[in-house]
């Protein structure tokens, strides 16, 4: 068993409204920043033990499917690194 950190990034699908990101964008603009767009996402860093990187990625993907992401409105990606 080896220690891995799986990073799961969960973002809203294109077309799903994101009022928090819109508010953050406008707040930055009020501070004088010039930006074209802002998207927000949640990032989960999961430390786990697995036999290999594929197993770690599979388990992190299952965590995303079952709890971390809502497949109706979210896309997610998983990246795994050895600790």
């Amino acid at each position: 068993m080896t220690g891995y950190t799986a990073t799961v990034t969960v973002r809203l699908k294109r077309g799903v409204l994101d009022p928090e990101a819109e508010t953050t964008k406008r707040a930055l603009e009020r501070l004088g920043f010039d930006l074209e767009d802002l998207r927000s996402a949640d990032r989960f860093e999961v430390d786990l033990q697995a036999d290999d990187v594929e197993e770690a990625a599979d388990r992190a993907e299952e965590m995303a499917e079952r709890l971390l992401a809502n497949p109706t409105i979210h896309d997610y990606d998983v990246a795994v690194a050895e600790r």
Copy 2:
């Protein structure tokens, strides 16, 4: 001017309590997942126009300092990619 996407990742400093991450970890464990630790972070993807990658990174860093992160409790990092 070139289009860049600056990704700002904002995470709690080590030692700052994260009850949301703790709750998520326990929910995963109740579903039968085996994990050692879970940390959550916010990720902001900012599209902006800048003369070069350094200017884009500087502006994204200033956004983090002034609004996206709270330096008392957060660390952040900035990564910039051309669009």
